[in-house]
């Protein structure tokens, strides 16, 4: 693909500075929230001893999952040798690293003792999936950075495919680890399912690609660079397949749980009588985040329309956040089965209450803002974006 020229964006327009300033304010608001929560303690949040992971975890895990998915575009090019996607590989790696940085920022700053990060990096319990994840996240930075270097440095180009293969393997293990954080919690009826690991992988495909498409379309629109239909339509179809796959895994997860008597309680809670969680599941996760985006992507009236693809991507992101809210918060809200065969009258039980406080939401949004600001800055300083992705540039290869 010798006719692809990568070039930095100019980044001098008023719009650029407004974007950076806006995102910067969100990041500052997040840091202010962290100071407030850290200074007072977590009593100012909606979290409790029953809901120990709140809104920040929803955002953090969403961003971490999306990060590994954002790398997929590069993987398809490197690992599966699809030449159409090759011009997007650099941006794919950048979005992946940025999303991971945003996610980790939220995760770390929501710790009870964020000042002890050094302990988390030096004291490892290798039996803990959480400790594995710390290694996997840090390793992802290194692996993807090396992969980007192989792509940027002409002399190293010949190694980029191998580096891409390593990165692809790493991201699969990473998301398996993230899903397993829940999959190995045997005492919680909502989790304790091996399917969590592959489900998180397929969720990452959809969320990461939705993010990638939005960033791609916005950056080409705002810098007046040509972006051809061949590329956009291919990404759109891929997104549709990923969303369908997420829905398939969700269906298998819930149907499988319904079959097991011990899990019927929590399934009824999520699917039928769980109040806000049931509403979020059906209206938010399934309809808003699944069925509507699929209709927008595949319906003949909206198919091929970029605004509709943008809308579908936004809905997939919102639906993804809702999905993680239902999994993380809903899963904790449902009480553990402390005394099988007995009803707890006092001391424990009932559905735990949670409402996210403003600082928690602000911290989560700050993570998203950090990810976007990182992309915005780095495309100004390094040549991540091809100067043109018009059909006549990418077209000759789009069938391969």
């Amino acid at each position: 693909m010798s006719n692809i020229r990568f070039e930095q964006i100019e980044g001098k327009s008023l719009g650029f500075y407004i974007l950076v300033a806006g995102l910067g304010i969100l990041v500052l608001a997040a840091l202010g929230s962290v100071y407030y929560m850290e200074h007072h303690g977590h009593f100012v949040t909606g979290m409790s001893n029953r809901i120990v992971w709140g809104m920040p975890h929803v955002f953090a895990l969403f961003l971490i999952v999306a990060a590994s998915g954002a790398l997929n575009v590069a993987s398809i090019s490197s690992v599966f040798n699809k030449k159409l996607y090759k011009p997007l590989s650099r941006l794919s790696g950048l979005v992946a690293l940025s999303l991971l940085a945003g996610g980790l920022m939220v995760l770390v700053l929501d710790l009870g003792r964020p000042d002890r990060l050094i302990v988390a990096m030096t004291e490892y319990n290798f039996k803990s999936i959480f400790a594995w994840n710390i290694i996997l996240y840090n390793g992802f930075f290194v692996v993807v950075a090396v992969y980007l270097w192989m792509m940027f440095e002409r002399r190293m180009n010949k190694f980029s495919r191998k580096a891409g293969l390593v990165a692809f393997g790493w991201r699969l293990i990473l998301t398996t680890g993230t899903g397993s954080i829940f999959g190995f919690l045997v005492v919680r009826q909502a989790y304790d399912a091996v399917i969590m690991a592959p489900m998180f992988i397929i969720m990452s495909f959809a969320f990461g690609l939705a993010f990638f498409i939005l960033i791609l379309m916005a950056s080409y629109q705002w810098t007046n660079r040509p972006l051809g239909d061949a590329m956009v339509n291919r990404l759109s179809s891929l997104l549709g397949v990923f969303v369908a796959a997420v829905m398939y895994f969700v269906a298998v997860h819930h149907l499988g749980n319904l079959y097991l008597a011990e899990n019927t309680g929590v399934e009824n809670f999520i699917l039928f009588d769980g109040g806000i969680y049931t509403k979020l599941f059906w209206y938010g996760q399934i309809i808003l985040g699944g069925l509507i985006p699929m209709a927008l992507i595949y319906h003949p009236v909206t198919k091929g329309n970029r605004s509709m693809l943008g809308l579908a991507s936004v809905l997939i992101i919102i639906g993804g956040l809702i999905q993680l809210y239902v999994i993380i918060i809903g899963g904790q809200a449902y009480p553990m089965e402390l005394f099988p065969g007995k009803e707890i009258l006092e001391g424990y039980g009932g559905v735990a209450q949670y409402s996210a406080s403003l600082p928690e939401i602000s911290l989560g949004i700050g993570g998203v803002a950090l990810a976007i600001i990182a992309v915005t800055f780095l495309v100004k300083f390094l040549a991540f974006l091809p100067e043109s992705l018009a059909d006549d540039v990418t077209g000759p290869h789009h069938k391969s």
Partner: protein, 243 residues
């Protein structure tokens, strides 16, 4: 031969002396610290508790909770809401769905032989002593709360606010996780946990599960007892009879 001491020699000499002093001193210090712990903790003991729910009254359980609060200094948090306040030990009332029998019991850390909290803790802050007591190292805890997600007994609490007037033997800290220590500071001195002392009957027996001559061992050989969530195979140190 009279040699003047140049700068290099001076550094060499003083460095060697310093290293020597530090080595000897640290050896002395280590020995001194080690000697304060006269009885090392070994796996020859396994501390446990047997709670007889037929004998334990609701007033007994309230007394156990108060004794724990007084001993360890929790429960007077000013800002935390009800669900944020710590609960190292709590009164639980359960009803058998088939027979309707109601039982009251005290629920705290069950001091599992295979503690899920220890497995999941990324920094080794959650740990089990050789004698079976499960603790949190407050210096290593980063407040990730994964142990709370993994505990099957809802036994752990997160400190949601700044604390004051803490007990000398129980430093607690904002942003870390805590739970029942089985009053390890008393047990190591040959005493029994505060909650056990507060009960005036033999409804709660504390002792070494491995010691054939201990009351808890002998009682467990004769009465029917149960572990909470025995299906998880965690081999808890706290046992119950009458449920």
């Amino acid at each position: 031969m009279n040699k003047t001491l140049n700068r290099r020699d001076f550094i060499k000499t003083t460095s060697a002396t310093t290293i020597g002093v530090v080595t000897v001193a640290s050896g002395i210090t280590l020995t001194t610290f080690a000697s304060t712990n006269k009885v090392p903790v070994t796996n020859e003991k396994r501390w446990g508790m047997l709670i007889d729910t037929n004998k334990l009254t609701e007033a007994d359980i309230d007394g156990m909770v108060s004794a724990c609060q007084k001993e360890q200094g929790w429960g007077s948090e000013l800002h935390s809401t009800g669900s944020q306040k710590p609960g190292w030990i709590k009164k639980v009332k359960v009803k058998d769905k088939a027979t309707g029998k109601v039982s009251n019991l005290a629920l705290m850390c069950q001091h599992c032989e295979e503690p899920p909290c220890v497995d999941v803790c990324p920094t080794n802050a959650s740990m089990k002593r050789e004698d079976g007591i499960v603790l949190v190292d407050k210096h290593l805890c980063i407040g990730c709360r994964y142990c709370m997600m993994a505990c099957p007994y809802d036994a752990r609490s997160f400190v949601h606010e700044t604390l004051s007037n803490q007990k000398e033997h129980m430093p607690r800290g904002k942003g870390t996780v805590e739970s029942c220590t089985m009053c390890v500071h008393k047990v190591d001195k040959g005493e029994v946990p505060a909650c056990v002392t507060s009960v005036n009957s033999d409804a709660v027996i504390f002792g070494d599960l491995y010691d054939a001559s201990s009351k808890i061992n002998q009682t467990l050989k004769t009465v029917q007892s149960a572990q909470i969530r025995a299906d998880l195979n965690l081999n808890t140190g706290v046992r119950y009879s009458g449920i």
